[in-house]
């Protein structure tokens, strides 16, 4: 278990007793994982979603159980906010469509496109997973959450999470192979998935630990 959990529990207790400084500290510590969580999924909307996520946490802080992991609570909220975001995008299909078109038309700067193609491949593969599989993988590899903690976020039994995790890994490897075999890329995944995923996390991560 994460050694910070005990510290979190104290902060949660203080916050619920009216110490907003404790709340700020909790958010400060959760900021990097939450930002990472959104950055890998929604790109430029990430700052907005980070804010929405924290705002939601603030609103429902009375529901935080002192005996439960604050990180699990935050990720649960983060996931809900993300799904709302996706639903909102779908509801407005026209905007969704045009954004797609614009992305096609205005590709990103090619600056250093060739830089670490392998990490890029992994990210691409991740984005091809269904959202929940992507989340499971990231929580497991990047946030070092174990199956029990993930089960807490999803509010499902632990064995279900293990099954999901297995499926997600299989699917990720399939996607990776498909990407590698695609004619536009010559790169081969040369290291194991786990090591790779961890390295990717390091690259995504922009905040001090």
């Amino acid at each position: 278990m994460d050694p910070s959990s005990a510290k979190h529990a104290n902060l949660v207790a203080a916050w619920k007793h009216g110490d907003d400084g404790a709340g700020a500290e909790l958010f400060r510590q959760s900021y990097a994982p939450v930002a990472r969580f959104y950055r890998s999924k929604v790109g430029p909307s990430a700052p907005d979603l980070v804010q929405r996520c924290f705002l939601r946490c603030l609103e429902i802080r009375h529901r935080i159980r002192e005996d439960a992991s604050f990180r699990c609570f935050v990720f649960g909220v983060a996931r809900n906010v993300l799904l709302e975001h996706y639903r909102g995008q779908r509801a407005n299909a026209r905007i969704d469509f045009t954004e797609q078109t614009v992305e096609d038309l205005s590709p990103t700067p090619t600056s250093e496109l060739a830089h670490d193609e392998q990490s890029q491949l992994l990210l691409q593969a991740l984005r091809r997973l269904p959202v929940d599989q992507q989340i499971v993988i990231e929580l497991y590899y990047w946030e070092d959450l174990n199956a029990r903690e993930i089960a807490e976020i999803y509010e499902v039994p632990e064995p279900t999470v293990r099954t999901r995790l297995r499926r997600a890994k299989l699917r990720l490897e399939e996607e990776l192979c498909a990407l590698v075999q695609a004619p536009q890329s010559g790169a081969q995944p040369s290291i194991g998935l786990e090591a790779w995923a961890r390295r990717l996390r390091a690259e995504l991560d922009r905040s001090p630990e």
Partner: protein, 974 residues
Amino acid sequence: MSQLDSTGDDERPISELLLGGRPEDDRAEQKGAQLECEALLAKLFPAQVSRPKLGRYDVLELVGEGGMGTVFSAYDPRLDRRVAVKLLRRAAEAKDQRHARLLREAKALARLSHPNIVTVHEVWEEDGEIYIAMEFVQGEDLARWQREPRPWREVLAVYRQAGEGLAAVHDAGMVYRDFKPHNAIRRDGDGVVKLLDFGLARVEIHPTDPSPEAATSSHPTGEPRSPSSNDRLTRPGTIVGTPAYMAPEQLRGLSADAHSDQFGFCVALWEALYGQLPFAREPSAGSPSLDDRERVEPPREPGVPGWVRRVLERGLAREPVERYPSMHALLRELARDPAVRRRRALSVATVGLLTVGGGLVIAELRAEAPTACVELRAFWDPERREAAHRGVLEAAGMAAEQTWEALSPRLDRHADALADAREQTCEGHRRGLVPDEHYALRVACLARREAGFSELVERLGRADQGTVLNANKAILSLPPPSGCDDVEVLLAEQPPPDDPAVAARVALLRQELARVATEESLGSFESAAQRAATVLEEAGALHYEPLRAEALVRRGSALMQARNPDAMGPLDEALWLALTTEQRAVAAEAAAKRIFVRVELQDRTADVSEAIAIARALVDRSGAADWRIRWALDNNVGVALWRRSEQTGALAAFEDALAWIPEAGDEGTFERATTLRNMGSVRFRQGQARQAIEGTQQAVESLTALLGSQHPELRDVEANLAVMLRMGGRYAEAAATLTAVLERYRPPELPPLWMLLERARLDLLREDLDGALAWCRRAAPQLAQPGQPVTFWDHWFLATEASVAAARGDATGLHGLEVMAQTAGPEAIGLVLGRTKVLLRLGRPAEAEALLIPLVDSPHYGEWDRLLLHLLLGEALVAQQRWSEAEARLSPLVPADARQSQLEPLERAQALQALAQAEAGQGRAASALHHAEQAIETLRGFDADSPAMRQARDTLAQLQRSTPAPPIEPEPLP
């Protein structure tokens, strides 16, 4: 939303997240994330967490991040304003060298002050990081802005601003390197476009020799050259930019210069105009054929003129030397409508001849930017509205209220549209969106529109009945203010002369012509023709040919409306003149109207083909925005063909004419009614009575909506409908319709004689003799008094009265007709027809024959009258049982194909019945029965109880009785 993003990419791909992973960048990255976090916490916990500081600025929130840095919105407490602060993200270069360069360039950029570049307030270094504070711009970037389709002129105006920004960058000796729609922001509110500084990290100082030759001459084949040490100094280690907008030389890894920016600018503008990139596929970095993209044809549909495309194509040339020498040169080309050039060429010919100055200067033509845009609507203030209302009420009697009810909302709407157009044009100009030369043209155009409107309002204030009755038609005929948006058309059709004094005079004369057009549509044709002649004279004195062409077409049009065959002269001259001045719409209008004059006024139907061909070619080429010209052409062609008895062609032309009329709104009501009426007449002649009547009924409906049911014009149309109904044998409907029309005439106004007599005729046809006499009595007061000239209608009145008497076996009416014939001459058709019919009714066919024989082939009569006389002669012969002579007269009248027959159904049925009797008399029973049945068939659609139908059935029954075998089934009747 505020948008200030360091790359402007609103869809930042995940791959980019990896790019900052270099160790030397971590600090800036971490600093950014920390600021982001603290700014958010300060918002969520304002009491516990204070806003993070960047320099002297309080960070508010993150507004964007990208490859080149992170941008925060911040507050400057010292100057009490919002700013944007960018934390530069560094790329792969040796840190010290790059650091110094970045700082130097940022400071160079800070010195750059231009309305189309975001202003840099401050550049500073803190903890080894570089920060830039700049103007905070609330707006949307062009990528977002151009997702919605925009008119090409608006796109051009917006991009020209961005282009000015680029030109300023170049003037300062820098290159932007990554121009794309994301990097320019259009400010909310005033629409000013500003280049974001985000080229910053990519901005580089020109090599010592910035000329294009230096950049390209060493590798003319376009082969990538391997980076030499020199190159490394001037370009970053890897390709930087956005491939879709990058110039071929950039994609080949060569150094970018001002020409590369020009290329990117043209790609973006192309995309904004045509909705797609100019090249078939976007290249991907590393592809060997990176710069070898295929040009795609832009879609034709958006209506972007060819000259714009040609300018862009040069800017998109593969070789930098083939592009424009500078952004300035490109922008100059983009600012130059060819129509402007045409105007200039034209004025060269006139400028030396000027004699008139007049000292008149119109402010509008000087294109000074107004300091404020006030609502100018003196042309429709409450006072004028009230005067117009009073004028209408006083002039128009009972139609007045209805007219005003329909008219006043139209006046209000038009006035609103004019005021809006003024304001928009003014605002647009004030904000720099409408260039000076366009502004002047638009304002002059709107002044003409206002003059046309004012003429209408003023005329209403002192209206006579005619003015009021035409007022609704006139307001709909006013050209809409929106026409003033199309600067190209304005330049082509109303080119202003260059000399300011002449231009001022010409502008006033054009306003006068707009008034003349209004007067014409109000029905004051003589006065309109006269005023047009005055303008024509002045235009001649100014030696300004375009204005002469405009005045000529107005004069010709007014004369045409007055049914004056002299209209041909000015219309011909207008046509030839407009062809030389290239005023295509003027030429097209003149050409379309010539057709009408030739056919209707000069009666030269035979040689109208050439006029039609000329008009078609001109109207097709005019690109006329005004649908009325296209409508008028097709409608007039239809009339011409109709007059030439080419019914099918006429119908097709009328269909074409209808297709030009806008579906929405009431703008085209009058034109639609006109063409529908014409179609009704043609269809009727073709025997398509039902369609003809339906079409005419539609015309009645739309005219009622336009003019109000009390409008005199409707009486005529509905009376015509009654005639059609009568010809179709729908006597009851016809009588009801016509009675309703007649009831709308209230003393002292008298219904026209012909309507009363038509009404009497309907009663006669239904054998309501009392009714017929009553209508005749109503008509009596309008007959010619002793000493007054006698008309056809006087004859027709006597004939009707005599017919009614004869139907009662009374021969007294015949005497009056004979007395009248002694003074009117033997050939007066009304009297001949009346006398013959009365004689036949009275059972005196020999006298009828004697009367007809000398007249029946007289060239004095028209085709139709001649046929009627033959029919009556045939009937007289039948009555005398001279069967073969009768048959010889009658059979040419009833060709087997009913559509070939020129007789109305009733007359045709009469001819068929008489023919059947003649055949039966000669023992040709089968043929007789056939024709008797045909008579009944001809009367299909007639009221079942009408005397005509009864008579036809009696004839058939009689023939069947006298013909024992074979028995023939009578055809069931509808």
